[in-house]
């Protein structure tokens, strides 16, 4: 019998398959829906200080089943109204992780404090959205700012703090190290990869914002490399993100060093039922491999392997 329970930063999750931020996370009913569908944890949409409409459409470009490009522009109802959404999910028993974004350490700290008061089990810091001016990866690409934000948030809250790292940097593990040195309890990696679509006939970018972030199976190899390298440089747990759609994808991330994973774009391909399917497939696959707990596999790919 495979035990899928997973502990990250001292918090117990019923399985390692979390709903990624930005997917089904604007409303409490949807977070509840993802939980009811079997997710081990649900990460909220990234919430800011004020309501934010996001960019005009087109905000999405799709590429069959291998990828998706988006520039939503961090739409969110704002921290004042969002607690009522979290309450809907929490009262259904969901393990909720609250994602926040801000323009500087003070704003992050204030938001994290208000988010923590809603009863979320952990805070995830969006240091990695690739398409919002002065926010996300514009802060997260600077290790000094990563350090300042994490340190300020750690002073503001008692619950675990997860830093979500951008892949759009020449030395991704350095960003994770900066977060760890400032006291982060875990690393989420990766957010989307900066990308763009251009229409030949119209001779213009497809997305209203111009550039956006690529997600889906196309970026799984990027995510794996980042998780692998981060695992070699930090001691805190890693949550792997990027292109997960099958049980083997999950196992690959575990072997690279992730303790848990997040699933996002695959929800658009398959519906929210993907959590149930992944949970069943993962149990079956681990049993076939003679593995009793996911913990046995975390980082196992590194033992006896050469440096990446």
């Amino acid at each position: 019998m495979v035990d899928l329970r997973t502990t990250v930063a001292g918090i117990s999750f019923r399985n390692p398959l979390w709903l990624a931020s930005g997917i089904w996370g604007e409303s409490g009913n949807s977070l509840k829906g993802a939980w009811d569908a079997g997710a081990g944890g649900v990460v909220t949409k990234s919430i800011g200080s004020e309501p934010r409409l996001g960019y005009p459409n087109p905000t999405i470009e799709t590429y069959d089943k291998w990828g998706m490009l988006n520039a939503m522009g961090l739409p969110n109802p704002g921290i004042a109204e969002y607690p009522q959404e979290i309450e809907v999910a929490r009262s259904a028993g969901a393990t909720v992780i609250g994602s926040v974004f801000g323009a500087d350490a003070d704003e992050f700290a204030a938001l994290a404090g208000r988010m923590a008061a809603t009863g979320v089990v952990a805070i995830e810091l969006n240091l990695s959205c690739p398409h919002a001016k002065g926010l996300g990866s514009e802060i997260g690409q600077d290790p000094d700012q990563v350090r300042d934000v994490v340190a300020a948030v750690k002073r503001a809250v008692r619950i675990p703090v997860i830093a979500k790292i951008t892949p759009n940097h020449y030395d991704v593990p350095m960003l994770a190290e900066a977060a760890e040195n400032a006291g982060a309890d875990a690393i989420s990696a990766i957010n989307t990869v900066r990308a763009m679509a251009v229409d030949v006939r119209l001779r213009r970018p497809v997305l209203a914002h111009g550039s956006g972030g690529l997600s889906g199976p196309a970026i799984k190899p990027v995510g794996l490399a980042c998780v692998w390298q981060i695992y070699e440089r930090v001691k805190i747990p890693i949550i792997g993100i990027g292109g997960i759609i099958s049980a083997d994808d999950v196992i690959e991330y575990l072997l690279a060093g992730a303790r848990a994973v997040q699933v996002g774009t695959a929800v658009a391909f398959e519906g929210i039922g993907i959590f149930h399917r992944l949970r069943e497939d993962l149990s079956t696959r681990l049993a076939a491999l003679g593995v009793a707990t996911t913990g046995e596999l975390v980082g196992a790919g590194h033992r006896g392997a050469g440096a990446a």
Partner: protein
Amino acid sequence: MRTITEVSERIVETPSTVTLRFRYAPSALPGQFVMIWLPGDDELPMSLSYTGESKGVTIKAMGATTRAALSIPAGAPVGIRGPYGNHFDLTPKRILLVGGGSGTAVLAPAAEAAARSGGSVVSALGATTAAELLFLDRARGFSETVEVATDDGSRGHHGFVTDVSQRLLSEREFDAVWTCGPEVMMRKVIAAAEPRHVPVFCSMERQMKCALGMCDACALGPYHVCTDGPVFPAPQLAALPEFGRTKRDSSGRKVPL
């Protein structure tokens, strides 16, 4: 991926409503919608008002983008993706169609399909004023009877289309009601049909961004209008506190309808 196609024909339906026809090959069923991109402007979710190979959407001026859409000329490029969402179940034979304003746009292709396959359709169309009645001639083509209501009494019943549909429900037997229009109107349609045990199907509208069941912009209770709808059986809607009362704006905040 989007397909860039050209507006093949632009038809002024009413002073505030325009139909854009375009060639778009993917097959679609009545009730489904497409995302239509007006390059340089927004991309909008629009139920198809024509579902054959030459498709069409019928746009009513509501906000800045829809107002701009009204002046799009034939030959202009538009981007189309989809079709998305579910569709009307075409098996019921005796249909009551209740269309409020531009809501008739999505009902017309469903009613045409029903009439083609031997069904009978009775239509109740409502608008603010006679000139704003959408698809009146088209409705005469697919309906056994067409009745109209206008807010100002300039044509047909002076008052709500729900007065007309309630009377029709009491006079005749129907296997299903198909309705689209303001949610307050649809609530009344449901209330009138429920005691007579006639199932009601409503085509719903919400803010949309991805249209893929991912971004949560069109969250409606436990549903996403883009993938669980846009056509909902009445029992799914009746229990929702937001039905007829609130929607979510682009930020995800609940705002009054």
